[in-house]
């Protein structure tokens, strides 16, 4: 490293004192900026893996009747490619950008929970290693990125690949959810003075909305994964039709996650474009309110339209029609956004820098992707093009043409802030044009391939008219994109050491991250500029004609919330999604009585006694809170201990119930009632156990006198969680024990 040649302090890499213990300085960091960079580097590493997988796929398909890789290897390649690119590249990089820039944009020193942030990050490499470890453990998953049952069940995929796939996604999912509620808590609780919710930059706003989608959608996937794992490892049959399960239910649960997942990736991209386009058009964004509002509309709609992924399953004409109409509705808020960005450029002084070039390409690609997307909303057309290369072309226009291009725009836009140096514009142009040419070569032609009838997920194809040369064009395009990526990596590395110094605000941008040195110091800001509008740096530079003041409106707009309670509420929201799926699954699988054990074999009277203990514990923990409020510390400890005792009795009761069932020969795999019963009550039991551990920690804190020294919201936050666990049990009691007896 040639540090002496420049005068830049390298806060981004290592500060002086950290040189002393450089081996752990990055590994043990809880700084949101470093974690952001670690996220992005991890994403880049897996981008190489996913990219190589894609290249092998394209090489295999370059000519007809090719035998470069075997059919089974090909299946593994596209499964790994899809999973890697979505969960290990796009999500980490976007989370990394959010991590780095949300605190800077709202004038905070760090995320709300720095250590949770580090935890969320380290689960990404761990999950990635789990996924790729399957290669060594006897075969990678070969079931596609959505792992449809029954193919992914043990009778059809007997190797361990699917288990590693599911475990890895579980690990990644837990990390994503923790990052999700960290972002929510950061935006709600950590905003600097004057930074009201209506003044936050669009990148932050859209990531904030996106975090809600993350915490609501990912637990749904987690539920599907644990059900799949229970099927595979414990011989249950949630999704095995031969034994009375339902493979369609897996599809519903998966796409109830899968469709929002598209927006989890697309919304941050929209946020990036909403920052880049105004800055390089020298105009404020056209219709901030509409960009902000349409994001909420997209988020809400995304949860109601998943069944359009299942038109070909045979849900019936009625369901198809409703979901076709609902899916078309999404075109409205996305169309609004495209118009906003275009209108921002109209009449602006456009600077065609590399980030802006990528943003413009994003706009064009995204519009094309939207057109093929909205046409897929028509069930009749969907039947013809589903599982053909037309669909591949559509979603790569979203995932690459839009999302990857937005990521490139973001990295070129913010690299100067992160490193203190400019990327080479000359190389940037090479990257851009190679990428645009390569991308369009690869994927435009695939629309025609699909319409000509080429199905997806075939390892080779016969030499039909046109197929050979079209596939060859597509493969050549992939190599153009590879070249672009290689130049990009070289540009990153080279500019990091030898780029021109960037200064605080090289693009003359207006949001707060540009008000601090590049790279930002550890605490981000020495002092914040006054914030009266959405462009504080514009106001600072143009005191004569500042932006109109965006007035605070009421308490909800200005006040920062308390972060412990906020994050626990967000956590509860996401847990509600998880239990919601399990409860709905129980209702579905037990709608009709089945042979073998049933709800009437459960001992209702004993369960009611233990339930009363649990419900009583909600009362005792409330008394404990009241005692703390009145500063009666002794009473508070007693009520807390009583709560733990009651929770413990409940767990023992549940254990006794399980034992009695096991004794009478009822096991997880006895029938669908037993499977869904043990899954639902078991996960509730785990949550009670986790709550008890949390309560024990609070008790230990109380015994150590922590609550006497300073005011703490720990007890309030944990008690919210405890009440939630009790409410879930009320639902479980009703659905599992009471409702079936009414019939």
């Amino acid at each position: 490293m040639n540090e002496s040649s420049t005068a830049l302090p390298h806060h981004g890499l290592l500060s002086l004192e950290q040189k002393m213990h450089w081996r752990i300085a990055w590994i043990s960091t809880v700084d949101h900026k470093r974690l952001g960079i670690l996220y992005m580097i991890t994403g880049l590493v897996f981008f190489v893996a996913g990219g190589l997988e894609a290249l092998f796929i394209r090489l295999q398909l370059a000519i007809p009747n090719n035998h470069l890789v075997s059919p089974d290897t090909f299946n593994q390649l596209f499964t790994l490619h899809g999973t890697t690119m979505l969960f290990l590249v796009a999500m980490p990089v976007l989370f990394g950008l959010a991590n780095y820039f949300i605190p800077l944009q709202i004038g905070a020193r760090d995320m709300a929970f720095p250590r949770l942030n580090a935890f969320g990050f380290w689960l990404v490499p761990f999950g990635g290693i789990l996924l790729h470890f399957s290669l060594l453990a006897g075969g990678a998953p070969a079931v596609g990125w959505f792992a449809y049952t029954p193919l992914s069940e043990r009778p059809f995929s007997s190797q361990l690949g699917v288990d590693y796939w599911a475990l890895s996604l579980l690990v990644l999912g837990i990390g994503s959810v923790s990052t999700g509620f960290n972002i929510i808590a950061t935006v709600l609780c950590m905003r600097g003075p004057g930074m009201t919710l209506r003044r936050i930059p669009l990148f932050t706003w859209i990531n904030f909305i996106n975090a809600f989608i993350v915490i609501l959608a990912i637990p749904v996937l987690n539920a599907a994964l644990v059900m799949l794992l229970i099927d595979r490892r414990l011989d249950a049959h949630f999704f095995l039709p031969q034994q009375g399960g339902s493979a369609i239910i897996y599809q519903h649960i998966f796409w109830a996650f899968g469709h929002p997942e598209v927006y989890i990736l697309a919304l941050p991209a929209f946020g990036i474009i909403s920052e880049v386009v105004p800055v390089f058009s020298r105009k404020p964004i056209f219709g901030y309110e509409f960009v902000a509002g349409s994001s909420i509309a997209i988020g809400l709609l995304s949860f109601g339209v998943w069944a359009h992924h299942m038109f070909t399953v045979g849900m019936g004409r009625a369901a198809d029609s409703f979901f076709a109409i609902a899916s078309m509705l999404i075109a409205i808020p996305t169309g609004v956004k495209v118009l906003n960005w275009s209108a921002t450029m109209v009449g602006g002084r456009i600077r065609l820098t590399t980030p802006m070039l990528f943003a413009i390409a994003f706009l064009i690609h995204f519009t094309c992707a939207g057109l093929t997307g909205v046409s897929h909303a028509m069930a009749a057309l969907d039947w013809q093009t589903k599982n053909s290369y037309f669909l591949i072309a559509h979603f790569h226009f979203v995932a690459v043409g839009a999302i990857v291009f937005a990521i490139f725009a973001a990295l070129h836009y913010w690299f100067p802030k992160m490193s203190g140096r400019m990327l080479s514009e000359r190389l940037g142009r090479w990257e851009f044009w190679l990428m645009v040419i390569g991308f369009n070569l690869t994927f435009i032609i695939q629309h025609f391939l699909g319409l000509a009838g080429m199905p997806r997920r075939v390892f080779t194809y016969p030499d039909l008219p046109g197929w050979g040369w079209m596939n060859m064009v597509s493969t050549i395009g992939a190599f153009f994109m590879t070249a672009a990526s290689l130049i990009f990596v070289y540009n990153l590395a080279n500019s990091f050491f030898r780029g021109a110094p960037a200064g605080d605000n090289p693009w003359n941008a207006w949001t707060l991250e540009w008000a601090t040195p590049s790279p930002p110091p550890h605490d981000n800001f020495d002092a914040l500029p006054p914030i009266h509008s959405r462009r504080p740096l514009w106001d600072l530079a143009n005191p004569g004609r500042p932006d109109p003041v965006v007035g605070p409106q009421g308490k909800a707009d200005v006040a920062n919330l308390e972060k412990n309670k906020t994050s626990v509420l967000a956590f509860i929201l996401s847990e509600a999604g998880f239990f919601g799926v399990l409860i709905l699954a129980f209702l579905y699988y037990n709608a009709n009585p089945q042979p073998g054990p049933g709800p009437r074999d459960l001992n209702l009277s004993k369960t009611l006694i233990f339930s009363l203990c649990l419900f009583a514990s909600s009362f005792t923990i409330w008394r404990s809170e009241v005692a703390l409020h009145l500063e009666k510390h002794h009473a508070m400890k007693l009520w807390l201990a009583l709560t733990i005792l009651l929770g413990g009795i409940f767990l023992i009761g549940q254990g006794m119930e399980y034992w009695a069932l096991f004794q009478s020969g009822v096991a997880v795999n006895s029938n669908l009632f037993a499977t869904s019963f043990f899954t639902l009550t078991g996960f509730h039991g785990i949550h009670v156990g986790v709550g008890l551990i949390a309560l024990l920690i609070v008790l230990a804190m109380a015994l150590a006198g922590d609550f006497e020294k300073k005011k703490s919201t720990t007890l309030e936050a944990i008690s919210l969680y405890w009440h939630f666990v009790d409410v879930v049990w009320l639902l479980v009691l009703t659905v599992v024990y009471l409702l079936p007896r009414l019939r």
Binding site: R198, E289, L300, F303, G316, A318, A556, L584
Partner: protein, 256 residues
């Protein structure tokens, strides 16, 4: 009876319903001096009569679960909104009943009425018994008004703040979607009375063969109505809250 005959003769001229509509109009005229918003009340009456007099009502009365669901949506989500919009902008609840204006109560009213009336026993009873049916209609209107009061009460200070209202509406939307999902995918019949239709009008043949409405598809459409269009209504309300949030309020103008 074919479709055309049904559309001509399938109107339920229920004197109670028409009387209720007329009385509401008269009460409004007498009570309020500022009648500039009477258009909303007329719209509310139109939807009210559409739900309870038009052929929708004849279908809901024992023939089609989906028609019953449409009626349900109109009475719970559309009529109360229009009625609240018709009130003069200085209208406030009197002290005695101000406890009704509680967000939790409002939320439970809106969501609870949906869940409660679709318990199989109550759902059947509402079709087979006139008094229960009347109770259902009245409760839907009343509980719907309680629900919407939190969002579109005439006076700004009686409403939830926009972010809170968005959470209020979003959670209500989710809770109703869950019921819609259950109805759509349920392998069993939720409201068995629609399985065994008493063919009073001689319409069953038309419904089953001309319209292609089997009992299973009927329940599916009912569930989908509750899931998709109902959520669209909530979504529209959420967007209205956003518009309210981003527009400078009167107090703010004043403060400037």
């Amino acid at each position: 009876m074919n479709t055309k005959q049904f559309l001509i003769s399938g109107w339920t001229w229920n004197p109670m319903v028409i009387a209720a509509a007329v009385i509401a109009l008269v009460v409004y005229w007498i009570s309020f001096r500022d009648r500039s918003r009477i258009g909303y009340l007329v719209a509310a009456q139109t939807v009210f009569l559409l739900a309870l007099v038009s052929p929708i009502n004849a279908l809901a009365d024992g023939y089609l679960f989906s028609a019953h669901m449409l009626q349900h949506i109109l009475l719970l989500l559309i009529v109360p909104v229009l009625v609240l919009l018709a009130l003069p902008r200085d209208f406030a609840l009197s002290e005695k009943v101000s406890w009704l204006a509680n967000p939790l109560l409002g939320w439970l009213a809106g969501v609870g009425s949906m869940w409660l009336w679709h318990a199989p026993a109550l759902c059947n009873a509402a079709v087979s018994s006139r008094p229960v049916y009347a109770a259902q209609t009245i409760s839907l209107l009343a509980l719907g008004s309680l629900f919407w009061w939190q969002v579109i009460a005439p006076r700004e200070e009686d409403r939830l703040s926009p972010p809170a209202a968005i959470i209020y509406l979003f959670t209500a939307c989710t809770a109703c979607s869950v019921l819609g999902i259950i109805l759509t995918f349920s392998p069993v019949t939720v409201c068995p009375i629609y399985m065994h239709v008493q063919d009073r009008l001689g319409l069953l043949e038309t419904i089953r063969s001309d319209w292609g409405m089997t009992p299973e598809r009927d329940q599916q459409i009912g569930g989908l109505l509750m899931w998709v269009p109902m959520c669209a209504i909530y979504l529209f309300a959420i967007l209205a809250q956003l518009a309210r949030w981003f527009s400078p309020s009167r107090t703010e103008e004043h403060a400037r």
